[in-house]
């Protein structure tokens, strides 16, 4: 057994252990609601995965040596694909008669924190609902981080894997060691979830609902477990809490790390945080003005609140409809539609291009105009007060370009199934992991995408994965050198 395979198996076995343990709450809940068949399948699955994880980790001995990036990529892909397939099993065997493609879509949507469904989520048995929310929660923080935090030999291997896993370019390096950073991220994530649960309970939400909401909302997955009309009918304090935590989920985690370490002074330079706040406030203001202008007869404060909640929902790529935004003026929707592309911050649970890259893109434009006027200048682009290498800027720009290429091609192939506007909207919804489109999608049946062919559903599954893993890890599958064995160098 080569060290590459040992490495992969080591990560995978730990992932399986965590997976098995995370299934247990759903089993207990199913038992509580006397959904025995459901509980049995999940229990058996959980025991199987956990024991196989244990056995594998007993059998192999990992010395934590360095392996090449190729192995990191394959490890991540193997882990993701295995977990997604395993997560689909409880849905498939739930006795509700779901087709395999549908359950696969569902599992992927949950893992990638996309708020889209092909089956009516809110009609699911309680155990499965919790399972889906758990998947959302784990998908948000990234299974690998979860795995790595409790892995024995992670300190040697963590950094490159984390780079692949955490969405976004991650420019703000937190002022801490890597090991501490991991633990802190997990701690912050759990704390935020608990705080949200407590807040929702205080605001009067039922226990189960609060649990599901706090798990799905912090991971910016949307509120798929509730009927769309229930979401609109929620009370204002609950809506405000949901909005606040969706916002927390969509900002750079290093913000919280710095806060916890009481290093406020660094936050002054947090370009992404400033960008996010400005973006949200400006958009809200514009939309409020437009809404008041068109005279929809609501008080100013309420309009402001409604548009703020909706703007946060879409720009954090959570994608729930918390107010009646389908009746908004066209211009507002257009603005929001384009902002969904930018999406959340780097190192957050949200999707999209990420605001760090958007900031770089804006600077690129300004810089390229400047270079045309002063061709011999040697200044470089700065980010958060520090100069950045041209290759980093170029790579960020390339990513944005690739994002649009995937978006257009996604829409191209989805158009085999639907009309042009829906194809564009759906492609955006999937690749940004939002799950819904501001403009609405035709063929949507009570919030679920039932009217699509298997090919279309599989394509959407792929798009969700591409968006969540930031395209390149999937793209390497098509590279010849990925499949070729590493050549031995002199080192």
């Amino acid at each position: 057994m080569t060290k590459e395979i040992r490495f992969t198996l080591n990560i995978l076995s730990t992932a399986l252990k965590v997976f098995g343990v995370m299934l247990m709450p759903s089993v207990l809940l199913s038992l509580r609601y006397s959904a025995y068949p459901c509980a049995t399948t999940m229990f058996i699955l959980g025991i199987c995965t956990a024991t196989s994880g244990l056995i594998i980790s007993r059998l192999i001995h990992n010395d934590g040596t360095q392996v090449s990036s190729r192995v990191y990529f394959s490890t991540m892909l193997v882990t993701w694909f295995t977990l997604i397939l395993l997560s689909a099993i409880p849905f498939y065997l739930s006795g509700q008669g779901y087709r395999f493609v549908d359950t696969l879509f569902e599992a992927t949507a949950a893992w990638t924190t996309t708020g889209a469904s092909v089956i009516k989520m809110y009609d699911l048995p309680v155990g499965l609902l919790l399972w889906r929310s758990t998947l959302n929660w784990m998908g948000g923080i990234g299974m690998l981080i979860l795995t790595l935090t409790i892995l024995r030999t992670w300190q040697f291997v963590g950094r490159p894997l984390m780079k692949l896993e955490v969405p976004g370019p991650g420019f703000i390096k937190s002022e801490t060691t890597f090991r501490k950073g991991f633990r802190l991220v997990l701690l912050i994530y759990c704390l935020l979830t608990l705080m949200q649960y407590a807040a929702l309970r205080l605001a009067g939400m039922p226990r189960l609902s609060a649990l599901l909401t706090s798990m799905s909302n912090l991971s910016t997955s949307g509120l798929q477990h509730m009927h769309p009309e229930v979401v609109i009918g929620l009370s204002t304090p609950i809506k405000a809490i949901i909005t606040l935590f969706a916002f927390f989920g969509s900002i750079n985690t290093s913000t919280f790390i710095l806060l916890m370490m009481r290093k406020w002074y660094i936050l002054r330079n947090a370009s992404e945080l400033k960008f996010r706040v400005c973006e949200i406030l400006l958009t809200t203001l514009m939309i409020t003005i437009a809404l008041l202008w068109t005279g929809r007869g609501l008080p100013v404060l309420q309009t402001l609140g409604n548009s703020l909640m909706q703007v946060v929902s879409f720009t954090s790529t959570a994608g729930y409809r918390i107010s009646d935004s389908s009746a908004w003026p066209y211009v507002c929707k257009m603005l929001l539609f384009l902002e969904v592309f930018i999406g959340a911050s780097a190192v957050s649970t949200g999707g999209g291009i990420k605001s760090a890259r958007a900031i770089l893109a804006i600077k690129t434009i300004s810089y390229s105009l400047y270079r045309h006027i002063h061709p011999r200048s040697i200044r470089s682009i700065t980010y958060a007060g520090k100069p950045i290498k041209p290759i980093v800027v170029l790579r960020a720009n390339l990513y944005i370009t690739l994002f649009f290429i995937v978006f257009i091609f996604g829409a191209l192939f989805l158009s085999l199934d639907t009309n042009v506007p829906s194809a564009l909207g759906l492609s955006q919804a999937m690749i940004t992991n939002t799950g819904t489109s501001v403009f609405g999608i035709s063929g949507l049946h009570e919030g679920t995408l039932t009217g699509f062919s298997d090919g279309g559903k599989l394509l959407m599954t792929l798009l969700m994965l591409l968006g969540r893993l930031e395209i390149f890890p999937i793209l390497v599958l098509f590279s010849r050198s990925f499949w070729r064995k590493d050549q031995k160098t002199g080192e």
């Binding site: 434009i365 045309h372 006027i373 002063h374 370009t401 257009i408 091609f409 390149f472 050198s481």
Partner: protein, 490 residues
Amino acid sequence: MGKRVIGFFGIFLRLIGFSMLLPLVTALAYREYSSARAFVVAIVISLTPSILIVLSQKHSVNEAPLKMRDSYFIVAMAWIMASLLSAIPFLLVGSIANPIEAFFEMCSGYSTTGSTILTSVEELPRSLLLWRSETQWLGGMGIIVLVVAFLPDFGIKARTVASAETPGPTVTKLTSRFTGTAQRLYLLYLAFTLTLMTLLMFGGMSLYDALNHAFTTMATGGFSTYNDSIAHFHSPYITWVITVFMIIAGTNFNLFFDAAISGLRKMLADQELQLYLFLLGTVTALVTVNLLQHGEHGLFDTVTDAAFQVVTIITTTGFATADFDLWPAFSKMLLVLLMITGACSSSTAGGVKLVRVVTIFKMLRREVRMRLHDNIVDDVKLNHEKLGGETLTYIGSFVIVYISTLVVGIVLVSFGGSGDFVTDFTAVLTCISNVGPGLAKVGPTQNFHFYNDFAKFVLALIMVAGRLELTTFLILFSRHYWNPHKTYKH
């Protein structure tokens, strides 16, 4: 320096004035006296300042040469000025009463876009229609290139100015002096136009129609003298002749010289051309299959329609033989894709240009390799030549500027009153890539008339910006441009 700029505009105005002689003659030939009067007025307006400038500027040869920034200013201003002056006859005759609409129409002309606000083209006097087509022909190869090719040297570095106007990231020098290159390009352009005109007349077109369509085909413009465009002629011969010449117009013109000097094999070795031909073939095949699936009858007719529409969109011409807005969604999306890519650099087409598309894909391939192997050193090569980091950065930034212009354009145009996402998206896309028709309310059988003045004005500027490769035009809106001594800060 200021005198040189003024001197340039003197020559430039003379060019615009003289180019109006052709429609003037046409007006007299067809006895359209009110248009003739309008053209005379427009010629006088253009030539008077020109003559004044020439008279006042006799001894100004030893001026400082122009800086880079000034050449951008000259080019952008020249294009706007050309559009304004050329709009005068339309306003005087009253065919287009709204000045903004006239400006839109002429921007669409010079930028070889081919979008129109006219609900019925056939109602216009024939001389005005010819003028409309002629502006596309002038804009196709570049008005500034025309000036530097055939007018006396006046101290501007011809290549610098021309590079601000020529499609594509690089300007190839074929001869030792750039002026020589420009002359050759224009002569080739003229030769193709005349050949096409002759071939069209063999197909039964009148001299007038043939001239109009030859102008707009070679310029990849897309204005027609009929409401139903090329479909009016119901002739497969004309359709195919125009298809072939659109393909030629979308090819890098320098390659024809390459072919003449070193043979066809050299020409076909060009990677941009290979992608161009590959796209033409595949997309036509895909559209044909898609159309046949959706109940289109007759293989030959379907192939003809598919090939014509694919070619007309990828070369950013924008003629119509079929209402592709009624086609299945997959075909429409394919056309949208082609609107973005456009055809080859140094042709008369618009869009991102295939040379950039090729480079972007090569960069992406390098990126994947860089991520897979930590310490890899990998060059991006185009036609077996290594591309420098500077070029790659420029190409990367160009795409970002393109996407951003598109996005900002969509937001602005959404105030235009269409109320439909696909309409606004394709309207801005079609203008920035200089194609012509879009989808939905701006589809091939529709026009841009319903937009409000604000949206029309924005779209007109986007067309010019798209034709001038964005940066040349957008620089005028940069604060760095207007504050030359201010230091650069972020």
